[in-house]
Every structure is written in C-alpha cells, then in structure tokens.
Amino acid sequence: MQKKFNHIDDLLADSYFIEWLCDPTEESDAYWSAQSEINPNLRTLIPFAKNTFNNITVEANEVSNTLVDTALNEMHRTGKVRIFNFKTAAFLKIAAVLLFFSLAAIYTLLPKNEFSTEYGKTMAVDLKDGSEVILNANSKLSLTNNKGKAIDRQVWVSGEAYFNVLSNPKSPFTVHTSRGDIIVLGTIFNVEDTPESFSIYLEEGRIKFVPKPEYQKQSIELDVKKRLIFSSSNERFELQDNNDPNITAWKEKKIVCQNMPLSELSKEIEAYYGVDVVLKQDALADRELDGILENKSLDELLLIVCEALDIKVISSKNSIEFSYY
C-alpha cells in the first residue's frame, strides 16, 4: 500500500509510524525502509519526525510545597487517618491515665469530642440524647465527655448550626456561643456565630438566650419565627421578624434567592466554599437572581449563575471572577 507523506504531520498522524517509533520490530524497520525507497521524501521526513517525537515534552506548573503540606495536614486533621506510632500510642495511653487522675475533677467540664467541617461541606451529628445537629461549612461543634454519667446536654458551637433538640423538661439543653448561652427545652432553631455575624432563629418551640454579662444582664425569650441578631454597630441584641428565606436553606444545600443581588450571593459563596469572589465590573453587583440554587458543587453552582445572568466566570483555586462577556 502506498501512503502519501508530504509533511511530518502526515507521519505523526499515522499510528503505524508511532508504533514503529515506540516499539520497533524487524518487520516495521523493513517496512519503513521500503517506504523510503519508494518515496525519497521520507528520507528527510522520517529523521525529522523522529526527532520531533523524541523531543516531545509535557509541561505542567510545579506544585507548591504549601499545597502538599495542606493536603497532608488535611488528612491528619480529618482524623480519618488515625496515625500514631506504637510508641506514641503507648505514651498517649499513659498520659491519658495520668491526666484522668490528676484532672478528673475538671475533666468533665472541658469541651470534648469536636466535630468540624471544612469549607464546602456540611455534617449531621446525632447526639447521644437523641437530638440532631447539622453543621454548616467551616463550623465547629464541641461536646462534653460524659462517659458513664447521666447524659449531659450542653454543646459549644462556632460557625453555624441547625439544632433539632429532643424535648426533655427535666434536663435543659444548653448551647454555648461566643456571645451567650441558649437554653432550650426541646425545639428547632438555627445558630450562627461567626466573627462577622451572630444570629439565632427559632423555627419551633421556645428558647431562652442568656447573653454574656458584658453584653446584657437580662435574658431574652424568643418566639417562633423570630430572629435574634447581634448588631455589631451598637453592640446590642435585637429581636426581628424573620424575613430571610435563606436562613436554614443551607442545610438542604440550597440557596434561596428572592431577587438576591449578585453581591449578596457572592458573600454566600465565599462563606460556604472559602473562596474569594471578585466582580470585575461594578454593575454586576446589582444583577439579581430569582429562584432556588442547589448547592451541590461549586462548579455546578457557578454554571447555573452564569447561565442565568449571561455572564462568564473564571475560576481558579482560591478565587472566582465574574465578568461580562
């Protein structure tokens, strides 16, 4: 068979030629020297193509050491990889016994058993008393160690969490936050306690909030569908009617947009995924979205936003930039 080879691309496009370069055999050697006899062009083309092929390189950006460290730390931190050396494990056992005897008295008061979520993840935690907590992204829930004792119903939370507390009038359930304690008899509510904002939203039942004394002396009772926020401008707690449909949407991995400007949505994305969102043109901030966004993955979310607003997005590891086409 006679093939036409006028350019090295013709050779490289021929998989039999590639086979010969990768794994030459007597048979293929013979074939290509015969081809060169028929087509003298090949005498110069073949060495040229061979040279091109042998000099092919694949470039990739070097991976930063920080990325490697972060990835490794994440594995240790998530606790999925329980790594101790045998020696360390023995040492830890001894240390734990010593610690137990010396600190037994205050041991039970210290927060224990931490659950924390990374950016982009939520987590459901079932408590021993039958209550349920759903942790939003980048949040932490701590429980006391109450082995062998009556169930201790107090937890510490930072970040955002949704509580469904089992009713038990004899034993109130307490949520400690950075700004005060929430005392619960059995109810459903949402707590947000981050450096930027603090709010409690009551969905069902009744709760009492006991602020830390430096903020306010008297406690505050919340009715259903009320929201207690801490206003950082005047350092006071304020009770409001809730009109934010988004308040507990996060636990269904949804963002409910009612004419939500892109600037607001950007904040939600930043908080949930831990990325920076940049709006390239100022006018983008006021573009509004209407509807329920399923928060399955960042990629999907961005795609939907872009389609809805007819804008484009460039995303890299830690930042996202929206811009007009």
Binding site: I18, V58, N61
Partner: protein, 181 residues
C-alpha cells in the same frame, strides 16, 4: 522514585509508621497532581482523589499486598478514584471553565506555535481544551513519565494498538490547534 526505596517505605507503612506514610505522600503528590490534571483538569478533585488513594493505602495497609511497584499501585487506584469522581460530577461544567480559560491564554499559545517545528511542548492545561481525556492520559504517561507502551496499555486497560492511536491522534490534534491560533 526508585522502586526499591518505595517498597522499603511501603514495608514501614505496613508496620504503621506514620513518618513513612508522610514520606510517600510527599514523594508522589507532585506527580499524581500533574497526572490528575491531565485526566480531569479539576484541581480540587485531583487533590481529593490523591487523598482518597492514600487514605485507602493507610486503612488497608495490613491487608494490601504490593509486590512489584508501589507507583503502579498508586497510579491504578488514583485513576480509579479520579474517574469515579468525574462520573458523579457534571463534566459539562468543567468543560465550560476550560473554554473560558482558553480565551485568556491564547496569547501564550500563539507564541508557542511560532516555536520551531521540531520542538513540541504539551502544556497540561491547554491539552485539556483540545484533547479527549484518554488522549491526554496516553500523552502524559508517554512523554511526561516516559512509560513504555506495555505499561501504558496495562494501566489504561487498552490494547497497545489503541495506545499508538491515542498518541498519534493526540499529537496531530494538538499541533493542528496550535497552528490555528
């Protein structure tokens, strides 16, 4: 990445040595990350997939037998992990991103196209825009790693003839796209 060293490290991992685990992780992260970007081109997923592989390695260290090559084991379980993730996520959205990035990078590519004809450099990011995942993978394994066709066909679970074909069409398509710019 000397295979004998690897097996030594692996024996220590089997004996629950966490330092050895860290060493192996550091040794292969860079390589697997680049391999992952040539497969899926999503950085976050690639990192997750690497973590999954090492998690599996650690959790199964007592049961697992690695006879010949730790690297081969890692590559095999890594590509499985990447493909599983890709199946569950929408590939469409990833492709969308690349189209955007392609626009911003066209200046760089046109410079590359002007380079002398016998110098062909594949750039992992740009490969993702013009080649199919399997073409990318074959090219990565052949020209980045330097694997021979037997190893590639074994890892990718395809016939050797298919490997040649993927490399050939990969090169051709990549060169064509460089010229267009």
């Amino acid at each position: 990445m000397n295979p004998e060293d690897d097996l030594g490290i692996w024996k220590r991992i089997q004996a629950s040595d966490s330092k050895a685990f860290d060493t192996l992780f550091r040794q292969y992260f860079n390589y697997l990350y680049k391999y992952g970007l040539s497969l899926s081109s999503n950085e976050e997923e690639t990192k997750d997939a690497i973590q999954d592989v090492f998690l599996g390695l650690w959790n199964n260290r007592k049961k697992l037998t690695i006879k010949s090559s730790v690297k081969y084991y890692l590559l095999q379980s890594f590509r499985r992990s990447v493909f599983n993730k890709n199946r569950s996520n929408s590939l469409v959205s990833l492709e969308e991103h690349h189209r955007d990035m392609w626009k911003t990078e066209s200046v760089e590519s046109s410079i590359m196209a002007r380079e002398s004809e016998d110098q062909l450099k594949f750039n992992i990011k740009q490969m993702a825009k013009v080649l199919t995942p399997r073409q990318r993978e074959a090219i990565f394994l052949k020209f980045y790693d330097g694997m021979d066709s037997d190893e590639i066909s074994q890892l990718m679970q395809i016939d050797k003839k298919a490997v040649y074909k993927l490399i050939s069409t990969g090169i051709t398509r990549y060169r064509k796209n460089l010229k267009k710019l």
